[in-house]
Symmetry: C2
Subunit: 406 residues, 2 copies
Amino acid sequence: MYREEMVTKRMVTGITAPKGFKSAGIHCGIKKSKKDLALIYSELPATAAGVFTTNKVLAAPVLVCKEFLNSSDSFHAIIINSGNANACTGKLGLENAYKMADETAKRLKIKSNQVFVSSTGVIGEQLPMDKIIKGINHIVDSIEDGNDLATAQAIMTTDTFPKLFNKTFLIDGKEVSIGGIAKGSGMIHPNMATMLAFITTDAKIEKSTLQKLLKNVTDLTFNKIVVDGDTSTNDMVLMLANGASNVEIIDETENYKIFEKNLYELLKKLSIDIVKDGEGATKLVEINVEGALSNTDADKAARQIALSPLVKTAIHGEDANWGRIIAAVGYSGIEFNPDLFELEINEVPILKQNYEVTLPNELANQKLKSSEVKIRVNLNAGNGKATIWTCDFSEEYVKINGSYRS
Amino acid sequence: MYREEMVTKRMVTGITAPKGFKSAGIHCGIKKSKKDLALIYSELPATAAGVFTTNKVLAAPVLVCKEFLNSSDSFHAIIINSGNANACTGKLGLENAYKMADETAKRLKIKSNQVFVSSTGVIGEQLPMDKIIKGINHIVDSIEDGNDLATAQAIMTTDTFPKLFNKTFLIDGKEVSIGGIAKGSGMIHPNMATMLAFITTDAKIEKSTLQKLLKNVTDLTFNKIVVDGDTSTNDMVLMLANGASNVEIIDETENYKIFEKNLYELLKKLSIDIVKDGEGATKLVEINVEGALSNTDADKAARQIALSPLVKTAIHGEDANWGRIIAAVGYSGIEFNPDLFELEINEVPILKQNYEVTLPNELANQKLKSSEVKIRVNLNAGNGKATIWTCDFSEEYVKINGSYRS
């Protein structure tokens, strides 16, 4: 079973791999029995960066994080609850989000706007603040090094396995680490969708440089994954850099490139874990489009393939129905000549130009039997290329989402 | 069972309700045993109009119909096959589409460009032309009045019931009829998607007026239905007007309005039948968005709600999860204030401004138990409004589309 393999292979250190970070994940009572409150803490003040949902409907914690990111230059903590999104909750919801920051700050003896707030779960219900405040009091006493598995579990909703990862590498002979946890599952789409990720590093990075790094790498990773095309009200990627490694990353240097590469690998790993854990997913699908007129066109085409329920169900049914793939590119809105379209599945050519079928159906279907499927499309028009990661679409997705609240 | 109810209630006259039209539907051997070849014929020359897929990948018959619509002013027939889309079939596919017109024209003793050609089914396989040519020879002898049920059956793919309907009304004291057959099922989306519809009328209508009528009414009906967001390579709506009623419809007259109204009702009926028969559909969903800044905005919002797999699965699971509806509007790209969002389900208010829940969840869920669900969203921003018809998303959809070719 695919899922179990993921769980046993996972790494158990994430956000506390970098020096000076502690974390905790506990049950405070929003959910029946599973962990539902997480805290990430750096004793040293950290710079921060954030990338947020593009949905016009912004959950209260998103509003609060955006405000704090503007009003403060140093940060110490992120408090996160699962089980309730605190979205579409109006004035009271906003007050409650501030309160989560206030209470955490009070207990940690820092300022409120040094604490980011994040929520995920059901939309349209007020947070049970009594439980959360009790939980905050309790969780501050639980923070420690190496608690990352519990922390990653506490931010899960319909995720079936926790997502955490870290990278440690040398810069100028000194050890630097980046760690991260994430949650995804349903509603995963470009531009963030009920997707939370929290990244820590012990590098020293100036605020604007950190924001640039996080934005650029997010565009190539979290913004390149598609589960179902829905975009949520709560998504955010937050990153804290506390400088505990005594290594500074300065823009436009060789060290910047090394750091960026490692950050890319970390975020890519978390992104792919999110796709693998897409609701009901049984296959990881990597879609490469090349030969488009521009990278933007390639991205549009790859995204439309990844969004097509007909393509996703065909992959699930292990049917190499290339007609659906070319049709999806056809309505992606880009310019291309269908006669030049070429397709490979798992590195075996299926279709050459002028609709020449190079592998009979029954054999092409065999290529889809693996749990990881690579689709490569060549439009033979230009140099534009893009990669999108997605998953197949199973009966299970419908079952999970038809009864999420019941 | 919803489907059976549809079948027993259906009308059995479609395209031959208007005077002077005959039709036939037979099995020629593209499919194993089901009907797969249809012919619509008018002895009198008819003017014609067409609306075609917006997919960049155009099936051969679409190219041929577009050419004939330009090169000829009078038409006599439409030959249609199911079971094979003749799409992505290159030069040979195009030759075969012309050949279908040629053979039909030869047998009917008319010109090739007076015969429209249409195909639906699997993409990327060449037509079995020997079977089709034999079929054409045979079908010409079978045409008659009142054969519409067989004709509607012969254009079906995964449709579970034939779709046909007619309207007869008086203009200046004289009887005028419009009739139609359609097929839909998967890939139904705005702007046509593996959706074929053939409309006949015995009114006399000049070519440009007929094109205007068909385009305008299609925009309000076939282009307002959404099943899964996929757009096919083969869609077309064709209309023939043979003048046999001796009633002429002239642009910008009162009679034009009467005719347009009846055409709207006919196409709306066929559109809704297509949605009801969406692959795996168990509920018909009408989405009304009002109070948008423009009609275009209202259309975008309604369409995004209709496209959201999360909304569609929630409706299937009878979960009045309004958070998913507001979130879908939030990423539709339109301007609105979420605080002013209001929602009704089957005419009962569920959510008022400032997220005031007016009907508790358990009761709201009850409203989704019917087989027809009306969702009304008020954005309270302007006068823009739009209606979209869609269906829910069931496990059955995945099953049908995961194994379409096996």
